[in-house]
Symmetry: C2
Subunit: 416 residues, 2 copies
């Protein structure tokens, strides 16, 4: 029997009425002949409540916000456990055989990086046995177990997508359906560009870039696992009529996509901050001196540009996540003597806009076209990065919508 993994996020299971609706989607697929595993998130708002309690507990003792991540995981994982139990209860009540699975029961084995653990293995034996008993597996997403310590772990925000794709790979599912509050992957955010089009198909690599560059439809790690294991993954709407659903967007191998566009989508991320170090001594080892301390503090550095001046110093500009801006500035100030620079300058009113498309591999001048179009609109580019299938520009936040609309039209993505 063919197997199917279905994943429903927090807004899709926000209350019992919506969980009832999820059960109808599950029923449809069971009746279509699938062995079904359903992965669920916590009910909308629950994770925030639980995280809030952890913070409050830590702050009851001291103002220092750092606290025990292993206990955080034990607390927060309970949210998915509740949804899984409720959905299994409801499915059983409908006469469908179902049982809930928590991360440790599967087991969904992970690293011990509590709060952002990585899945290391998903032995399929227990789930296989459940399928053999004719059970629907209702799986608590976002959570796992660190085998050596026997402790509960969580995968980080959005981790239920990753759980779903990992389960699909483990049980060799025909496909993995990610049900969300949007009906598929769009050429760009439809709230910003009214002419955004839903894509029927998008390649794993493009989706990976989109997720990394600001599209919030899927978690990056889930796309990585889907790509590595070749899991055909659909992004589709949980708010469709369960009796008459629309297909959504298929994420698949590049080869499956016949009519390939040069550019498939425009992504943007407002969570960026720019830092410039003025008059850095232009000598060997200076990059290590700058980026070493930031890496040690777990701060991701993204776009890096270096402008050499006449006086054998250089201006070094790079971006960090906006949430890490203050921390990064403080670290750099502290290391000023080691690095040797005149001043730190920064800006948080910036946005990173990216164009993604596997077609770029075979087409030259794709990015140059964009630089020209943006210049014509009077948009100044602060930084640029490119890779094989995407390019990104850093610009002033005020121009976000204009720039996204400009590139969306430029590459022929507008809905007709």
């Amino acid at each position: 029997m063919a197997r199917l993994v279905m994943k429903f996020g927090g807004t899709s299971v926000a209350n019992i009425e919506r969980i009832r609706n999820v059960a109808r989607h599950v029923q449809r697929e069971v009746e279509a002949g699938y062995q079904v595993a359903v992965v669920v998130s916590a009910m909308s708002g629950k994770t925030n409540e639980l995280v809030g309690w952890c913070r409050e507990a830590a702050e009851a003792v001291s103002s220092d916000p750092v606290y025990d991540q292993a206990e955080y995981d034990a607390v927060v994982a309970s949210g998915e456990q509740v949804t899984a139990g409720l959905l299994a209860l409801l499915l059983n009540k409908m006469g469908l055989k179902a049982r809930s699975w928590q991360g440790w029961q599967i087991p969904m084995e992970t690293s011990d990086a509590h709060g952002s653990a990585r899945i290391s293995a998903v032995p399929p034996d227990n789930l296989d046995a459940g399928f053999a008993r004719g059970e629907i597996a209702v799986i608590a997403g976002f959570q796992g177990i660190h085998k050596e310590s026997g402790r509960i772990t969580t995968l980080g925000r959005g981790g239920s997508d990753t759980s779903a794709v990992a389960v699909a790979a483990a049980v060799k599912a025909e496909r993995c359906d990610i049900y969300t509050d949007v009906d598929g992957v769009y050429t760009t955010d439809p709230r910003v560009v009214a002419k955004a089009r839903k894509l029927d198909k998008v390649s794993f690599e493009e989706m990976l870039e989109m997720a990394s560059l600001g599209s919030k439809v899927l978690q990056v790690r889930s796309v990585e696992i889907a790509m590595v294991h070749g899991v055909r993954t659909f992004v589709r709407s949980s708010f469709d009529d369960p009796a008459n659903p629309t297909p959504g967007t298929l994420i698949c191998d590049e080869e499956e996509i016949v009519e390939q566009q040069v550019v498939t989508g425009i992504a943007f991320s407002r969570d960026e901050a720019q830092i410039t170090l003025r008059r850095v001594a232009d000598k060997p080892g200076v990059a290590a001196a700058i980026f070493g301390p930031l890496a040690d503090a777990n701060i991701n550095v993204d776009m890096i540009i270096q402008v050499v001046s006449d006086d054998s110093t250089t201006d070094m500009t790079f971006t960090v996540p906006a949430a890490e801006y203050e921390r990064a500035s403080a670290i750099l100030h502290k290391a000023q003597n080691d690095i040797g620079f005149a001043a730190v300058q920064g800006a948080t009113d910036v946005v990173k806009i990216s164009a993604i498309g596997v077609g770029m591999r075979s087409h030259a001048g794709v990015a140059a076209k964009a630089f020209r179009a943006l210049a014509e609109k009077g948009i100044n580019i602060r930084a640029i990065t490119t890779s094989e299938i995407k390019f990104s520009v850093l610009i002033d936040k005020d121009y976000t919508e204009l720039a996204v609309r400009t590139l969306h039209s430029l590459y022929g993505l507008d809905k007709v």
Copy 2:
């Protein structure tokens, strides 16, 4: 190092501020040199919320209220898991080494009677290892695991008391402190009798009778386990100043109690209903015909009296829990032909009042004195049962307070 188990109920952990206070109690005992295990309930109101969702999920499908108890357990057990994680997080933040334990992690092994499972074994190895690492064990009460199925179970309402005593027995704790919203065990409910006295000590057997007969201070099963394993158990207040707590009531072996009263306490239960079968054929096997079907339906029958008439029929009166009254009546009506009786009569406006004391063993006429005193107040007794260390009378509910006060004075229990 001596070991101590501390248990805190739902009102004692109702919010972060109270959990902080619990942590102070724990800190005091750690500083006194104990290896501490803390057992916690769900935050007050949380279990009701979770149970409510289970009901709502079942009722979303059909009006039949029956649903999957294994999934109920998976959902409801999450409440204690959250409290345990939060308390461990808070203790760690205070610089005390602590970790949370869920039922399956210990493991707290139980039967598979989901919703009201019985503890079958508590292998101490994992907890011992934790103590050896210098950790405070913060244990989610009320929950366990059925080893064969690997599924989460719950022990039924009030089950955290039982978890605590079972852990105390397993780790050979010096004592088990049950922190509640009252400061000890009283001669009777202080809300009914202003002159009720707090007991310094009460024997296991008396406490067992009190719990069975309506006192809500401790769960019956917890007292059974404490008695069998000789766990010295204190009932004490969680609202005391952690720096200056009062000792509460010790539940211990009879031998430890030097000045033994004839009667130690007066308990009462309003959750009783009386059923009378009129003109039952007085023949062998009739009791089995009546009580067999009730037992099959899991309905507990308590006080039974039989009055034989002249015409070789008998009137059979007994009590059942008030919540089961309708179901019991329906079952008896259905079995009318098998049993052979003229009519079913019933009353739910009754109360069972009990006097408990190990001193009854060596004193005759204790109950007779009560019958006389109640008669003098014009209180009609509907049924009587006695055992070695207690007697109970069934009377009209209206006379509850009067009867309890009368017996409380009669046996010299009033506070002076």
